[in-house]
Amino acid sequence: MMSALAAVLAVTAVALTVQVAALVRSEWADPFVSTAPQRVPVLGGHEPATHAWSRFHVRYYPMTLVFVAFEMEMMFMYPWAVVFIEEGATALVEMGMFLTILGVGIVYAYKERVFSWQ
């Protein structure tokens, strides 16, 4: 198990490093320097008055909260799937109940138009 996960880590690290190296090298070796007008963000010709980074109004923020609550439940589903065949109908009924309870929450959220932009 450890060696498998070590392989995952090694592969990820190598891919990441190769890409970082390529990008850093191109930054350094770039014969052209970005001038001030060149650096202006693309808006079709005009300059922005301000930096783009700002307190960005996330129009779907209630959805993210429902997502966090719903996603927690997934952690129980993975072990459940593994023992499903072993436990048979018990597993089906228990998870059915669990998901029905959560489903009520989703239906409520949908009814309250949480998934539309605020």
């Binding site: 307190r55 923020y61 209630p62 459940w80 669990f98 929450g105 138009r113």
Partner: protein
């Protein structure tokens, strides 16, 4: 004798602590959020080293999703979210440092003096399966009540956060809370802060920004 696992443990631990410290050193909310995530990822790796494979990998998964959501709110509600002007991310530093030292000392005492059960896990045992059987058997009631709790969480978060709903605008018919306990409710107009809004929108395209710059720096410190 020091094995690969021990080396890996030290590396991940140091990385977890270092990125945890980084959270309070950087100015950008996005960097702070994802340094916290980096810290969690290293903790997940440590859990895997402790043979809690499922728990460790699941931690990566869960914490990533959670930190994405946290990042959205951090940027939305914090002034200067990208840290273009340097700022102090630490709130009540002396008290925080003292609390941190006490907590760390407590954990260290437990780690050194507690009598831990000696029940090594067999690396080949199928912990996921055992977890599933426990979930559907002995801990069934706990599992189902978590379902109810999560549903309550969803309903509450919707009630508290959603500005619109089945019955229209969430502010319709609302009254603003009183300014002091037992006082009168303020009129519904107070839900918005028209003065603040007017003041800002008057800047228009020229974005003076100077009067905001005069705000007391100390007042604007935030914790993260």
């Amino acid at each position: 004798m020091i094995g690969t696992i021990d080396v890996a443990f030290v590396v991940f631990s140091v990385a977890a602590v270092a990125s945890g410290c980084g959270v309070f050193r950087v100015d950008s909310m996005i960097r702070a959020t994802y340094l916290l995530l980096a810290s969690f990822l290293n903790v997940g790796a440590i859990l895997v080293l402790l043979l809690a494979e499922y728990l460790g990998v699941a931690l990566l998964f869960m914490m990533t999703a959670e930190m994405i959501v946290m990042g959205l709110f951090m940027v939305m509600f914090m002034m200067n979210p990208a840290g273009l002007n340097p700022m102090n991310m630490v709130h009540q530093p002396r008290f925080a440092a003292a609390a941190g030292v006490v907590a760390a000392a407590g954990v260290a005492v437990v780690a050194v003096f507690a009598d831990f059960p000696d029940a090594p896990v067999d690396a080949e045992s199928d912990t996921i399966r055992e977890l599933g059987i426990e979930l559907l058997g002995g801990s069934m009631l706990v599992f189902e009540s978590i379902g109810v709790t999560l549903m309550a969480t969803m309903v509450c978060s919707v009630i508290l956060s959603s500005a619109t709903g089945r019955f229209g605008d969430g502010y319709e018919g609302s009254v603003a809370p009183a300014l002091e306990p037992g006082g009168d409710h303020r009129p519904a107009d107070d839900l918005y802060d028209p003065d603040a809004a007017m003041g800002h929108s008057m800047h228009g395209m020229d974005m003076g920004g100077m009067d905001h710059g005069e705000m007391d720096h100390g007042e604007m410190e935030h914790d993260s």
